[in-house]
Symmetry: C2
Subunit: 264 residues, 2 copies
């Protein structure tokens, strides 16, 4: 198992924040990344459709002989995680649980959760957090404009700050102490968000918390890659690899190697 890759999929590009966190923590691991750009966004689709698409993605990664699959997409983690854990005989990790666990750690009483419409409507974060700590007070807010703003590259823009204020100042007013960034696009907006709502509200970046989870699973299974040399990661997109590459470079702040087109 050690030499096999970590498989990551997302509806598109946002999962690259998870990719980046994985590589920072485990640079020796090879990652195979699939963005289902032909069918994005998942955030506005129904549960049945999201499950069907997630299964396609996971089967593609299984074909690449991965040792673990990370669902780097909140909408897909909300709806498809138990289904995929059931279907596949390798570990499958979503981004919801690690974020929820980080949210209940410490002494905070009021937690904010933001995400796409599908993620927020699913109520998965609320349920997951309530199961961990039923005392927690939760305020949630769908932020459908954040993804297009990130993809437009308006990371430090007056419009972006105004939209952040519109969505998040009401949460600040309600006294949230932590804010779960429940969409893999959002870590790119961290600086702008803290600029508007203040540094005192802790931002929970599920890219980081999910990476901790993957690290601990691979460690405890003894599946960590031990070779010191860095491997060539693979990137696949179901449509428009050029666009994936262009926006991917906004996310990673570096050149992306060739993105390959696949279809299924």
């Amino acid at each position: 198992m050690n030499q096999k890759a970590i498989g990551v999929f997302d509806s598109g590009i946002g999962g690259l924040t998870v990719y980046q966190a994985l590589k920072k923590k485990m640079p020796q691991e090879k990652v195979v990344y699939l963005g289902d750009t032909a069918r994005l966004p998942y955030g506005t689709k129904s549960a049945e459709t999201i499950i069907r698409y997630s299964e396609d993605n996971a089967f593609f990664l299984m074909g690449k002989k991965v040792k673990i699959i990370v669902i780097a997409c909140n909408s897909s983690s909300s709806y498809a995680l138990p289904h995929l854990q059931d279907k596949l005989d390798i570990p499958v990790i979503g981004v919801i649980n690690p974020g929820a666990e980080a949210a209940v750690r410490g002494n905070s009483k009021i937690i904010g959760i933001i995400g796409t419409t599908a993620t927020i409507n699913s109520g998965t974060y609320e349920k997951t957090i309530a199961a961990l700590n039923p005392e927690m007070d939760i305020v949630s807010q769908a932020c459908p404009l954040f993804v297009p703003l990130v993809e437009e590259g308006w990371l430090d823009h007056q419009v972006t700050r105004m939209v952040i204020g519109e969505y998040l100042l009401p949460l600040k007013k309600k006294g949230i102490e932590k804010l779960v960034l429940g969409c893999t696009h959002y870590p790119v907006l961290k600086k702008a968000i803290s600029g508007v709502i203040g540094e005192e509200i802790e931002l929970i970046d599920s890219a980081r918390t999910t990476t901790e989870k993957v690290f601990s699973i691979l460690t405890s299974l003894g599946w960590m890659r031990n070779s010191g040399k860095r491997s060539q990661d693979e990137f696949y997109a179901t449509d428009f690899p050029e666009r994936f590459q262009k926006i991917g470079e906004i996310f990673l702040r570096r050149k992306l190697v060739k993105v390959q087109a696949v279809s299924f």
Copy 2:
């Protein structure tokens, strides 16, 4: 043919502006509308994918025995129109040509064109307008944030006015006299756009110009429905009919009858 319906498809909800214009002009006609909400948006997808999806949509409408098909989606009109005209034995109308024809009418010399990234990148409006009048000066601009702003319902919102200014004031500076709204979502923003760039710039609403085209074709073929009683229109969505209904009501400013789910 007379009693058959007009088929309209779009990647989602935007085509309802075309639906509304059709019904205003020809209230006696029955319309069958399909929104491919499972796979929206088309605006960020490649030509091959858009053609494939458009074909699926057109075949669905053919199954509903329509007499004419209106592609109420600019991205799809840009890439799939000749292909569908070739494949089908009924008239197929896109939204690009009627908009381009309205743009060259009169004495204007400088025309602005706005649309999704795919529509603008395709250069279809430029080519179509240049073929009609090679003297015309064209300035184009992709406005990827307009669709999510409309779907958020922020039609009269400071953020929306600021985004409009960001995208369109540079076009005003260049002296545009007309502005082609090259996306079927945009007519919903007409008032806000004129508020920012001034009433003196004429907005060309392709929902209206396309309706004129459909009217003239049905009239000249003698295919207009002559029964005076209004028929029950049919609405289909490939995913999330509830969401279609909710946002559809923002577009139409009235209750929408039942939207049926289909998949293919």
